[in-house]
Amino acid sequence: MTDAAARADATIGETLIDAHDLTKRFANRAQDTLRLSFSIPARQCVSLLGPSGCGKTTLLRVLMGIEAPTGGALTIAPGLAGNVSYVFQEPRLVPWRSSFENVRLPLELTGRDAERSGEIRTLLASLGLGERVEHFPRELSGGMQMRVALARALITQPKMLLLDEPFAALDERTRFRLQDLLLDLRERLGLQYVFVTHSIAEAVYLGDRVLLMNRSGQIDTDRAISFGKRDQSLKLSSEFNAQVRAFSERFATLERDA
């Protein structure tokens, strides 16, 4: 399915996540970290962009249920609840478990059939880790560790991935490769994601829609992005750069205001 078609579908699809006046305030803060409303329809992939400390990660954690909101309403569609996987900023692999065992972890902990070893191997192989199945995290590069973390998030066959700046710590080449991997997973598995990033180009490249947050935890800009086909050459196109420039200017204003 092309991105355009996905967009067209999304506009008529059901709402999967609906946040209405959602607020989050931490006990030790004078101000709300979050104060926003938005909804995400089925199939739409959203980039959450914003200066550091604007509450992007907090929003993602609230969506995952790691943090409880302090006010407002957050509605998760029944079909989606329990079918969401989270990818942390760092791979967060269990050091004493091999790649294989790290991917098996969610199955073991949720008491689902943990004997799907063929499936785990196939998944690891599809992420280019076929040769690293028995390796321990310390024997893997940062990019490989992140791919194991992705496999761990995918093994439960989620409908949605929540990703918290997962590629921020990686070198550029690896980051580009993993961005394309994510687009590919979306294409192949119909996977939907919310992707937190502070890179404007990354947000534009990966999102059907970019939500730009300001330092008060509010949504400053909410814009749909549509490209014909997404691959790295897109980043050289004028339409892509026009989007990036538009967000850059706004982003710079937000950082200045703070």
């Binding site: 790691i66 967060r92 269990v94 050091p95 004493w96 972890l105 073991e108 902990l109 949720t110 560790q145």
Partner: protein, 253 residues
């Protein structure tokens, strides 16, 4: 290997000088040999009474292994129980400190009254002194898991026991190994003290050598017990090293 030898060279050199000076001082008669036997005399006694020394060492080793195995099994189990049931921990842990603080020499006679003369008392003595370090270290290990990993595991809402089994226990393994390393030395002390009173092994060999004024044999017995303790610590180190090389039980990747 060569690097290790080079690093330990000063220690070996010092030992060699010490032995030579000792030999000369005793050989020249400056110190009576019934107070301090010459190294050569100790060596001769060791060779002469090798079968007795060997049997005594093996008997002591047996008691240490018994005591340490008990400490390991009960210490780790208790730590897991304390970790899972906080009220149990608050109720019982203060009394476990007893095992750490009471001088083993003081309760060894009590053990003889309970278990009689022989191996049971010696094993109990080795057990009592070596329990606490394993218990305390395991408990620390269970408590000090990486909060980031705790959060990760929490995403899947596992049962408490599943969480303990797949996160806390593996995280505690390096701590348990450290506890074992401390405990093996203590178990050696506990066994020999037990043997002083309940008989058998190196403890009773040293004690009877003392009553017979065989200072050379006392030295040989002491030497054997040091070598035994050292060998046990090295064995634990080897096992730990092999285990951690096979599977990196560390706090962070």
């Amino acid at each position: 290997m060569i690097a290790a030898m080079r690093r330990n060279l000063p220690a070996w050199t010092f030992l060699a000088i010490l032995l030579v000076v000792w030999q000369i001082v005793v050989g020249a008669g400056w110190i009576a040999s019934y107070l301090l036997p010459a190294p050569s005399d100790i060596y001769a006694t060791t060779v002469e009474l090798w079968p007795e020394l060997r049997a005594a060492t093996l008997q002591t080793l047996g008691s240490i292994v018994w005591g340490l195995t008990g400490s390991f099994a009960i210490g780790v189990s208790l730590a897991i129980a304390f970790f899972s049931v906080p009220i149990l921990r608050r109720a019982v842990l203060p009394f476990c400190v007893f095992f750490q603080t009471v001088p083993i020499v003081a309760i060894a006679p009590l053990l003889v009254i309970w278990f009689g003369f022989g191996d049971t008392t010696v094993r109990a003595s080795a057990f009592i002194v070596s329990l606490f370090p394993i218990l305390a270290n395991t408990l620390t290990g269970l408590e000090e898991t990486d909060p980031l990993l705790r959060e990760l595991f929490g995403l899947y809402k596992p049962s408490k026991w599943k969480m303990i089994r797949s996160l806390q226990i593996p995280s505690a393994i390096p701590y348990i190994l450290t506890g074992l390393r401390i405990s093996v030395g203590l178990a050696t002390i506990g066994a020999i003290v037990g043997e002083f009173i309940a008989g058998g092994g190196l403890g009773s060999l040293i004690d009877s050598a003392r009553t017979q004024q065989r200072v050379d044999l006392v030295f040989a017995g002491v030497l054997a017990s040091s070598v035994l303790a050292l060998a046990l610590v090295l064995t634990i180190d080897l096992i730990s090293g092999a285990l951690l090389r096979r599977r990196p039980y560390t706090r962070s990747g």
